[in-house]
Amino acid sequence: MTDTSIARRGGGSASAPSGRPRRSHRPQKASGLNPKLIPYVLLIPGLAVIAALLLYPMIQVFVISFQKVGIPQIRDVNPKPADWVGWENYTKVFENDIFWSSLRNTVSFAVIAVTLTLAVGTAVGVLLNQLSKRMSTLVIVGIMSAWAVPPVAQGVIWRWLFDAEAGIINWALNLLPDFLSNALFGRADWTGEPWTNEAFTIYLILILMVLWSSFPFVAVSVLAGLKGIPTELYEAARVDGSSPWRTFWQITFPLLKPVFAVLTILSIIWDFKVFSQLYTLMNGPTVREAFNLSVFSFSEAFKAPPKMGSGAAIAVILTIILLIVTAFYVRQMLKSEELR
């Protein structure tokens, strides 16, 4: 009876000798609850939180995206009910140039940042695997400290590094010989160069910052994967005279494919939604050309005058894009043992 309602995970190895009556598998004192109900009772709090704070708002944001919700609807005194406007929010958003630049920013940033993060992270992971124990621990502690820095603090730190007057980046660029600086950038004096006023340079900083803060996670995950690969494989490759590059693509990469799949999808999810770093970098939703979809949605909904409906429409579009991008991953998880 009880056994049918219980998943037998890892229970096979040390179960009671077959001579014993099966009943002894059950707890002696009945808990007074039908065992079939126990999992549901355990799930109640978690399910309630998820339903109230994630699922219900998800439906609501969809509804709001078809409504007009502004000051008259959200004011405290005598609020008006929301007007149903059909697809109007969506058509207006699609006519807005900022939407298209935001979409372009979101996608190109994700592609560049994910590629760089995975490449650098993997390289550092492979490097860590070759180091002595003490050296690799030291480097791991260092890079993981960078990873642990809160996103808002990251934004603040990198703004300071790229500060126009006293930033260390402008100081370093001033060190370049004038002829080289002129040839490369068409200028020799960098003092006063503002980096956070323009979309291109904002994204340059953002990419560097996100790379800096997220490659450690990739490196450490790759290192953990590498530790699981038997060294005999590498010895065999060495005996056969395989180059390190070839060894990586013929042995390491195929064996670590599952690790890379998870890391890629996680990086995509994180980089598509980047908000805090970008928001801090440009000090709020200021440079419209530098918006991504997250910041654009926020700006529409919460910058005066609030246009919640159109903010919701942008959020719905971002969600749909994310779900499509990650559908592959969810299907992969469904097929695998993970859910059984």
């Binding site: 699922l55 820095v149 996103p151 001033n174 908000f275």
Partner: protein
Amino acid sequence: MTTLTTPGVKRGRDAARTRKRLRKIALNGTATLVFLIAMFPVYWMVSTAFKTNDQIFTTEFIPFPTSFTFEHLDRVLTEGVAGNSIWLYLRNSAIVALGTVALGAIFSLLAATAVARFKFKGRTSFLITLLVVQMIPAEALLIPLFLSVKRLGLIDQLLGLIVINVGLTLPFGIWMLRTFVAAVPKSLEEAAWIDGASRMTAFWKVLFPLVAPGLVATSIFSFITAWNELIFALVLMSPDGYTMPVALQFFFGQRGTDWGAIMASSTLMTIPVVVFFLLVQRRMVSGLVAGAVKG
């Protein structure tokens, strides 16, 4: 040492040794470079926090704060920003993060046990839901939750922020903890049952201690997420209820930027997380129950 005058065989062996040593130097050199690049922004934040304004606002490069000062720390802790001392924002952040951890730990432990220990109708659907809700961007939840919180009169309540953070962290928390629960062999609990323990006793005395490292790992994740959360705190709170991420936004004024104060504040916000994280990192990895049943 390699001496080039030695005869043939030894010379070959020496060359191999030299190559090996060069390789080691190259590896360690690259590793040191990676370490320095990763640490530099953090170091620069901390060192700026302890420099005098003369050494901050300069076009020269001053690697160490030779004019070491506590004036910025002192200023942010007394004058602060947006009308309050940084203490208040640190306290708010701590309340929200710890509240999120406490509630989240209980909820995720119960749900993870249900999913990892029982087979029941709707289990797969629940797991799919967990996976899918993690893809939802916070911005999509922001608008409806803002309207609901406003309607419920919970604006400017730290409790409201805690509850929302629990919602944001719970799906991943359950997802992560579930593998820890599943890793504890069922036979351990069954042994306790045979010895006459009730389900509850077996849970608390057997399962719980073994899952504790997993719970620590999950809690760290929730703590960091809640500590770092910007967008909900920004929209739902007024100055007295701001958390650190929101407070940091207010340093950038019209009349130049007080970099010493910003770096002092962001140091205060960063150091606890980094230290906390580094302290438990080893336990996170070494945790689990390797060899609890099999000797």
